[in-house]
């Protein structure tokens, strides 16, 4: 029963979702679709508390056991509960000026900072990938050189053919390869969803038995 009930619930909910996505007409179809969306969002919202408990437990252990860099765990917990208290008891609304300032002055720049580290990682990954070890790495290197030159004025200055060649690489072999992968992945995705729906794949329930 422990396994059968979630599978049955998943099957019924999944079928309702498929029917209400593909079909239109009677009002109940849209009502059920909207209602299911709300349930889905609600389930996600209350699960946040489970995450908060885990975060508190993991960092609490680090602090009490004085593990390496335990001070950072204090910062993590103070930030998490500080934001929670500020949001619930002081700001109360996402349009609160303090809340907006907090987002635009702290969270957004921090996100941008982490994102911007990508440029260095791209450089180091490219260096390793472009080292000529075999024919595939050579093709990768030549294609990358043409692409990079084709995207800057220097490429057109060297030869007007370079930007055209870069466009061709991007729009023909690249798109062909990507679409092939996408078609395969789409079928894989649909098959996985159907396996979950009919209860053949039960990994999400913790284990395969």
């Amino acid at each position: 029963m422990k396994k059968e009930l979630p599978i049955a619930l998943g099957l019924v909910a999944g079928l309702i979702w498929i029917i209400t996505t593909y079909f239109t007409g009677p009002r109940w179809v849209e009502t059920v679709h909207q209602e299911l969306s709300k349930w889905y969002q609600l389930a996600g919202a209350y699960m946040v508390m489970v995450g908060v408990v885990n975060l508190t437990r993991v960092h609490g252990h680090r602090i009490t056991q004085k593990k390496k860099d335990w001070m950072y765990s204090i910062v993590a917990l103070v930030c998490m509960f500080g934001i929670m208290i500020f949001g619930i008891f002081i700001a109360k609304d996402s349009n609160n000026p303090g809340w907006k300032t907090f987002y635009s002055q702290i969270i957004a720049p921090m996100n941008a900072t982490v994102y911007s580290t990508l440029v260095f990682y791209i450089a180091s990954a490219a260096y390793r990938a472009f080292r000529i070890r075999n024919s595939q790495a050579t093709i990768l290197l030549v294609s990358a050189l043409i692409m990079m030159l084709g995207r800057v004025p220097l490429g057109a200055m060297i030869s007007p053919v370079i930007p055209q060649l870069a466009d061709w690489i991007l729009n023909v072999p690249n798109v062909a390869g990507m679409r092939g992968i996408q078609i395969g992945a789409a079928f894989g995705g649909i098959a996985t969803a159907l396996r979950v729906l009919v209860g053949i794949e039960r990994g999400y329930m913790g284990g395969t038995e």
């Binding site: 996505t21 593909y22 079909f23 239109t24 007409g25 009677p26 179809v29 389930a43 996600g44 699960m47 946040v48 508390m49 489970v50 995450g51 908060v52 885990n54 975060l55 993991v58 252990h61 390496k68 860099d69 969270i107 921090m110 996100n111 982490v114 994102y115 580290t117 990508l118 990682y121 180091s124 990954a125 490219a126 390793r128 990938a129 990768l140 990507m178 992968i181 996408q182 078609i183 395969g184 992945a185 079928f187 894989g188 995705g189 649909i190 098959a191 996985t192 969803a193 159907l194 396996r195 979950v196 009919v198 053949i200 794949e201 990994g203 999400y204 329930m205 913790g206 284990g207 395969t208």
Partner: protein, 257 residues
């Protein structure tokens, strides 16, 4: 009640695919022969990666990506996590699972707990090794890279839906000396994983993982249905391209209905 405009062809094609899938599953259950599946290097080397971590006395890190529960890639990642967690439990190697979503966290915890139970070592399961990090994409990225730098996993398994953080994880994993196996169906991230990881599951290989690792004939039968689906799509592309070349758009209009 009628089918939503633009979804007509998709609905009938998916229905045919579902029926094919169920027929193939029924055939597999009857014990009919299933064709062999080609070797997937990334999956073949999972045990090697975990074995390496065991020899080095360092943990294994697993990230199920940053996709939500409605993403098929996340569901496919669970099958690989289950396999990896069982191998880690067998060898007494810690497995650290980092989650972006609090909804995913109890599921991955359940998978790892069940894995330890199935190999008969429930007492070895460490709940703190399955961690919720943060729901914000780059906060999650920072948290995971911090864990990688501090705990220096010998094997880094990045399986699921990844976006901009893919290369950050792969490069940090490389810098701490991890053997890296990645897998995603997000086409924009595949080149990063191919360039930076030792092995990469490309697109559909990720979805084939549960069948490939379990060798279950029913799941293997699924792969046949997928291949038939792809063949039909190739035929559609050829027919559409030929007809469109000669100025006949009836087929493409039919599919767009």
């Amino acid at each position: 009640m009628k089918i939503v405009s633009g979804y007509v062809a998709a609905f009938w094609l998916e229905l045919v695919f579902l029926v094919t899938l169920l027929v193939v599953i029924a055939r597999a259950r009857k014990g009919l022969k299933i064709p062999e599946v080609y070797k997937v290097a990334g999956l073949d080397h999972l045990d090697e990666a975990i074995g390496r971590a065991t020899e080095m006395g360092r943990p294994v890190h697993f990230s199920p990506g940053i996709g939500y529960l409605d993403n098929a890639q996340t569901l496919a990642a669970f099958a690989i996590l289950s396999y990896a967690a069982k191998a880690c439990a067998r060898y007494d190697t810690p497995i650290i699972v980092t989650n972006r979503y609090s909804v995913i966290y109890p599921i991955t915890e359940g998978i790892v707990r069940q894995a330890y139970l199935e190999v008969g070592k429930p007492e070895s399961f460490v709940p703190d090794n399955v961690r919720f990090i943060a729901e914000d994409q780059f906060a999650y990225a920072s948290g995971v890279t911090g864990i990688m730098n501090r705990e220096r996993p010998a094997a880094n398994l990045l399986i699921g839906a990844f976006w901009a953080e893919s290369l950050i994880f792969a490069e940090v994993g490389n810098s701490v000396g991890s053997i890296q196996i990645s897998g995603t169906a997000n086409t924009a991230q595949i080149p990063f994983f191919v360039a930076a990881c030792d092995y990469c599951l490309i697109g559909e290989e990720l979805f084939a993982a549960s069948a490939y690792l379990s060798k279950d004939p029913v799941l293997m039968g699924n792969l046949i249905a997928e291949d038939w689906g792809k063949m039909v799509m190739i035929a559609f592309i050829l027919i559409g391209a030929i007809l469109q070349t000669f100025g006949n758009s009836s087929f493409t209009k039919l599919l767009a209905k």
